[in-house]
């Protein structure tokens, strides 16, 4: 009995540590700050909250993303032929590294072929709005 239990504990901790190591901070921060609106699957909500799954839109706006996340955004935008116009609050307490982690989490989760965003790229992008 005891041996069995030990094996179960070992195997589960092994699996969870494996799942954990890949951009866990980005995933955790996304869950904490973004899922209330953009949802776990990044699909948003109807015509109220835009999806984060449109690769073309993110690619075109790559340099705007850090500012939007940190300081929020408002005004009409078009994604996939749908207009969205609602206020998104920013999260000013996020550090450059945290923003990079969130963005890289979004890319890994829903986009292929986008290059990773570094902390330095975030820092440069933020100069536009700070």
């Amino acid at each position: 009995m005891k041996v069995k239990l030990l094996i179960i504990i070992l195997v589960t901790s092994f699996i969870s540590s494996c799942l954990d190591n890949h951009n866990s901070e980005g995933a955790r921060l996304y869950l904490q700050h973004c899922t209330p609106c953009h949802m776990e699957n990044g699909e948003g909500l109807k015509r109220l909250i835009p999806p984060l799954t449109n690769t073309e839109f993110l690619q075109e706006n790559r340099s705007n993303l850090p500012c939007w996340i940190k300081h929020g955004m408002s005004g009409p935008i078009q994604i996939g032929g749908v207009e969205y116009d609602q206020i998104m609050p920013g999260v000013p307490t996020l550090t450059d590294t945290e923003i990079a982690n969130i963005l890289n989490f979004i890319q890994t989760a829903w986009h292929e072929g986008l290059t990773f965003i570094s902390e330095n790229e975030v820092k440069d992008a933020l100069k536009e709005c700070e």
Partner: protein, 212 residues
């Protein structure tokens, strides 16, 4: 010694399990079971009086007056929110949409979303919000009105609505979904940010619809 001890526990566990299953199947046979009325009853002259949601008169997204009496012949699901809510509201609305879609063709049930921020949430603002969610009348009312009335009525729905400058967006409010019957009694509620709780809640709605 140890081994046989665990064995006994296991065997007993098995017996408990059988009992539990028997018990559950017994309960399932009791068709009489009704959803409880939530809240403390008052006993006056030997009569037990269960709490009801107080009377109200608010404006919906078409600027039409909606009263509890008008809603009286249907059961409804209520929630409290505001359109500029920076936190849980879209998640709760996603679950409200689930209910809206499921009972779209069932005229015995409606949805009612009360704003906690009536100063900003005018009927026209509620209109544009509801349109973005594809929420249509007469199925789904978005109500606004006097702030004090909206805030105090939230308690009748076992919910919270408070102005708080320190809260995100300026208001504290709970993300509960509340099931109200045709008599104005609250019969169930759940956490509207948790899809699994809402799945259980849907069963309660079905149950109430079948109570007749």
């Amino acid at each position: 010694m140890k081994k046989s001890k665990t064995n006994i526990i296991f065997r007993n566990g098995g017996i408990y399990l059988v009992f539990l299953i028997l018990l559950m199947s017994c309960n399932a046979k009791q068709k009489e079971y009704k959803l409880p009325i939530i809240g403390y009853p008052e006993i006056t002259n030997g009569d037990t009086i269960y709490p009801r949601v107080r009377d109200f008169s608010f404006l919906n997204q078409d600027s039409s007056i909606v009263t509890n009496e008008e809603l009286g012949d249907v059961i409804y699901i209520a929630d409290f929110f505001f359109t500029s809510c920076p936190t849980i509201c879209p998640k709760v609305k996603q679950q409200m949409i689930r209910i809206y879609d499921k009972y779209f063709d069932d005229d015995r049930i409606k949805l009612v979303s009360f704003t906690v921020d009536p100063v900003r949430d005018t009927p026209s603002r509620l209109k544009s919000y509801s349109e973005k969610l594809d929420a249509k009348l007469p199925k789904w009312h978005f109500l606004t009105g006097e702030k004090d009335s909206l805030h105090s009525i939230s308690g009748d729905y076992m919910s919270i609505a408070l102005e708080n400058p320190d809260a995100p967006g300026g208001f504290d409010h709970s993300g509960r979904l509340i099931l109200v019957d045709t008599e104005g009694h609250v019969r169930a509620f759940c956490n509207g940010t948790d899809p699994e709780e809402v799945t259980e809640f849907l069963k309660k709605i079905d149950h109430l619809l079948n109570e007749g």
